[in-house]
């Protein structure tokens, strides 16, 4: 799982062009400037490509911060 968490962190950092060290549980659309509605599309596309999965609308609306992304992804691909 920790590997997946790292990949998620990496994807958020590269999508929004912020340093990876700054990403923590509290990182969200409130704390990251480029995380607006278009940022959300970019993030979903990047996560889907990186992790090889597909989110439903229900799941996408829950992807609001780093912690919730990890939770949703863990729920989809239990390992």
């Amino acid at each position: 799982m920790s590997n997946t968490v790292e990949r998620i962190k990496n994807t958020i950092a590269s999508t929004f062009e912020v340093p990876m060290e700054t990403i923590g549980d509290e990182s969200s659309s409130q704390t990251i400037e480029k995380w607006d509605s278009i940022g959300q599309i970019n993030l979903v596309m990047a996560l889907e490509q990186e992790l090889g999965l597909s989110f439903t609308m229900d799941e996408i609306v829950q992807l609001k911060d780093f912690a919730s992304i990890c939770r949703v992804v863990a729920g989809k691909a239990p390992r």
Binding site: I41, M57, I60
Partner: protein, 563 residues
């Protein structure tokens, strides 16, 4: 630096990273500008907006029908026919309002979408045709209106959806930010725009080079003999027949064909003369390299003989080893992966980067011109000296200001000419129109013919008057008239044009590219002297008094000017 703007009444920005990658693969430096949603109208309609100060070379205008008429497909079928008609008018009015404002404020090439027609809606077979026919009618009107506008082109967004399939319609992204494009459709859009980008920037392939055995025909001539190879109207022959028919159509459109094959020339010639099933004939090929040399060497010969660059060649060969070899030796050549299945051979020809924006009279005559060029080369090879060749060529040139009927050809010359092109400025039809409208600038076109045939419109010069100086903005010669000193006739015309407008000096500029070495010394040969250019202006500037200009080497020419 190429300036590419994306303007949309909905979301478009997520496409930019993909577009950047595609442009980078073409080796072009490009800057992007994006205006979306409500901002797009502000950018389009205010003359001093960021969009226009960005000085775009190309504007992609992506319009979503839902922004004009929400829930279009679910509401239109319930309207009366009159209301549907007025809705079409309304949308057309809005779109042309935008495109005309853009046209007024920038000479950039403009690329607008048509509207995608969904294959089905929830309303079913009783009402879907009403929705579909309304939208198709709107698309037709849109195409006519936008094609009438200069430098404006429509890309077939509807066709792209049909190709990738509507399952790529991403409802999630649409609901988040009105961005309906799934990943495949995003790539399809970028690929489609790149076709226009290449056509606008001289990056189009000009010649398709084909192998013979198991490519142009089925079987191996050397082993199976002329009766054993197949390309007839039979199941095993039809893939090759279809392939040849497609090549023939491309040749009609102005694309050059060439052969690169390991075979005996005499065997091939007799097939071309005697085989009943061939669609293509020897005269359809601008050149043939049929020998036992390696194919990379042959491709270099083909480029040299046709006087085009390796970057203008497409190579089609069924043998993966040959393809790998050519790829390694000539990365500039587009080496197409032929499908495993011969039935798909012809389809691959629509992915060969050979698009042209419009087809001009020169395109339709090109194959014939290269036939004439072959005879000319034979004549030159037999001539005792270059002077003798020139003096007996009977070259005649005519030079006149470009009229509206020839603007497309003039723009095509700007887009396609790489070698003899002093500044390589890719002026669009609209930019050329603006030069012709001003009394202080002019566009001259040159045509040429000799005893072997007509070269068509093959030279162009754009000159601007600044006080007593005439500035050469663009000076180019199509490769087919290079090496005959016709350029000296064109510079003479520029000088006369400038003198008629009270100029005492003539100024030129050489902007080096990787391809335009052939004209590096031209301005100096005409008596212009190197000077320090304007601050920040790249390239080498030149100047001379008009009176000091040396018009030389034109004794062999018959020149008529109608300035």
């Amino acid at each position: 630096m190429y300036h590419w703007a994306l303007v949309s009444n909905t979301t478009i920005a997520p496409l930019v990273p993909r577009l950047k990658q595609a442009v980078k693969r073409n080796g072009t430096d490009c800057e992007f500008f994006v205006a979306e949603y409500g901002d797009s109208n502000k950018q389009i309609f205010s003359p001093g907006s960021d969009l226009y100060t960005f000085r775009p070379d190309l504007i992609v205008l992506y319009l979503d029908i839902q922004q004009f008429k929400p829930m279009f497909e679910l509401s239109v079928p319930f309207e009366t026919p009159e209301n549907r008609e007025s809705l079409i008018e309304e949308v057309l009015g809005e779109v042309t309002g935008m495109t005309k404002a853009i046209r007024k404020n920038t000479p950039a090439a403009l690329l607008t979408n048509n509207f995608p027609v969904q294959p089905r809606t929830v309303l079913g077979i009783g009402l879907d045709p009403v929705y579909k026919n309304t939208l198709r009618h709107l698309n037709q009107r849109l195409y006519q209106t936008l094609s009438d506008l200069q430098g404006s082109y429509v890309f077939d967004c509807d066709g792209l959806w049909a190709e990738v399939g509507f399952e790529e319609y991403d409802r999630r992204f649409e609901m988040i930010a009105q961005f309906p494009f799934g990943v495949k459709m995003q790539q399809a859009l970028v690929n489609e725009w790149m076709r226009f980008f290449r056509a606008l920037n001289g990056l189009t392939r000009k010649c398709i080079v084909v192998d013979l055995d198991n490519t142009l025909w089925g079987g191996i001539l050397g082993e199976d003999g002329p009766d054993g190879i197949c390309m007839g109207d039979t199941p095993e022959g039809r893939p090759f027949r279809r392939f040849q028919q497609a090549l023939k159509a491309l040749s009609r459109r102005g694309l050059l064909l060439a052969i690169n094959s390991k075979n005996n020339m005499a065997d091939v010639k007799s097939v071309f003369q005697q085989h009943p099933d061939l669609v293509l004939r020897e005269s359809d090929f601008a050149t043939m390299q049929i020998n036992w040399d390696d194919k990379a060497t042959n491709l270099a010969r083909i480029a040299r003989e046709l006087n085009i660059g390796l970057q203008h060649l497409v190579f089609l060969d069924d043998n993966p080893a040959e393809r790998a070899w050519v790829r390694e030796r000539h990365p500039e050549v587009l080496v197409v992966e032929l499908p495993q299945d011969t039935a798909r051979y012809a389809d691959i020809l629509s992915h060969c980067e050979t698009d042209t924006l419009v087809v001009t009279g020169e395109d339709l005559k090109r194959a014939q011109m290269y036939q004439e060029e072959r005879q000319r080369r034979e004549f030159q090879a037999e001539a005792p000296s270059f002077e003798h060749f020139l003096n007996n060529l009977g070259l005649k040139v005519g030079i006149e200001p470009v009229g509206s009927a020839l603007l497309e050809r003039a723009a095509q010359l700007c887009q396609r000419t790489n070698q003899f092109n002093l500044t390589t400025r890719r002026h669009t039809v609209e930019a050329l129109t603006q030069f012709t409208r001003s009394p202080l600038s002019g566009v001259l076109l040159m045509r040429a013919q000799d005893r072997f045939g007509d070269y068509g419109w093959s030279g162009l010069a754009i000159t601007k008057v600044e006080g007593t100086h005439a500035l050469i903005d663009t000076f180019l010669l199509s490769c087919r008239v290079m090496g005959k000193n016709a350029e000296f006739a064109l510079i003479a015309a520029v000088a006369k044009w400038a003198g008629d407008r009270g100029c005492t000096h003539i100024n030129g500029l050489y902007l080096p590219t990787s391809k335009n070495l052939p004209c590096k010394d031209f301005l100096e040969q005409c008596g212009l002297k190197k000077i320090t250019g304007r601050a920040g202006e790249p390239g080498q500037a030149y100047e001379a008094k008009l009176a000091d200009l040396q018009i030389q080497r034109t004794d062999h020419l018959k020149i008529s000017m109608n300035l």
